[in-house]
């Protein structure tokens, strides 16, 4: 888990994706999850400043909300959230000791954006 930098390449704490590794052994689940031992989940953090960069795939509503925020700070900025996620497969033993391989949707953040 690395905290996002203020400023620098990503500038002014702009909304961006950051690494987050989930280790199943940290919660003691490695006794029933056979594979993987953990995975890169990532997370989104940062602010959605006006003007919104194009790579953040902002919705029209987010652009309008950000514009309104720039003139009226009482209206909150758009939220920095995952906009693209991918599945991962887990191999595990279930409650009945049957081995199951299952694909879980929306487990890995691939892209972040202002929505």
């Amino acid at each position: 888990n690395s905290r996002p930098n203020k400023g620098g390449r990503r500038g002014r704490g702009q909304c961006a994706r950051y690494p987050l590794y989930v280790d199943f052994s940290d919660v003691g689940w490695n006794d029933w999850i056979v594979a993987p031992p953990g995975y890169n989940a990532f997370f989104c953090q940062g602010e959605c400043h006006f003007p919104l960069p194009q790579h953040l795939n902002s919705t029209n509503h987010a652009i309008v909300q950000t514009l309104v925020n720039s003139v009226n700070p009482e209206v909150p900025r758009a939220c920095c959230i995952p906009t693209e996620l991918t599945p991962i497969a887990l191999l595990y033993l279930d409650e009945y000791e049957k081995v199951v391989l299952k694909n879980y949707q929306d487990m890995v953040v691939e892209g972040c954006g202002c929505r």
Binding site: V27, D31, W32, V34, A35, P36, P76, T86, P87, I88, A89, L90, L91, Y92, L93, D94, E95, Y96, E97, K98, V99, V100, L101, K102, N103, Y104, Q105, E110, G111
Partner: protein, 289 residues
Amino acid sequence: AESESGRRPPPPPGATSDDGDALARGRATPPHGLTRHVEGQLLGMFGLQRRPRPGPGAVVPPYMLQLYRALHGAHSGARDVGRPLDRLVARPASQANTVRSFHHDESAEHVPADSGDSTARRLLFNVSSIPDGEVITSAELHVYRERLSSPASAGLHRINVYEVLRPAAADGTPIARLLDTRVVHSGRSEWERFDVSPAAVRWAATKEPNHGLLVEVQHLDGGTPEKRRHVRIGRSLHAEAVAAAARDGASEGGDGGEGWPQLRPLLVTFGHDGKTRDEGTLLRPRPKR
């Protein structure tokens, strides 16, 4: 977490009001009630009712490991991950997002009397652990056969897989229907996969106790004792093979040191939980960006 209004959300069921305060103060270990609640939420996300606690004897079938590696490789774009995914999963299973494996219940195994030219075993599978919402799209029975060490014993075998509709009556003949059949040569060690979808789909849908599958091995060139060991459908056959190998002073065949738990017949079901979208299926992994 605090809401934007500054009001703290109510504590989750099972957690005391002190739990949230303790977390807010940055205590290293979260309280037990909150931990249990969070774990319950996560297990529910994984479709589990309670935390699995596998015993030391739990066995992961080699096929499931191969399938995981192939799927992981397809997701990540990695190469050299073993057999390609499309060789491990048949076409009808392409819509599945859940693969379950079942070993047969040996305590309930019925062993018909062997005739000279054929060997048969009835295998009972308990598929009641399949969740109600999961739709089984296809199923396979995996049976291991081991290369015979003696060329003189090599020959052809026909493997018939039946669904037992009614167990053997007084005359000893069960009512069964043929699901799949194949002729194999005993010169190779490999897993054979038989399509048993019609039986498994109905078992999972009706949730009623089933009468299992009957695996019959016909020794087309005569049934010598060694030929009867070629297809591994019963523990006793494996024990005989191990004993024979020990007598010969060498371990032959494709075991690689693996025993009966790794080589016993395996029922594999392919299903979909109905919760995920199309891109969540096994054979259509989304390439990593």
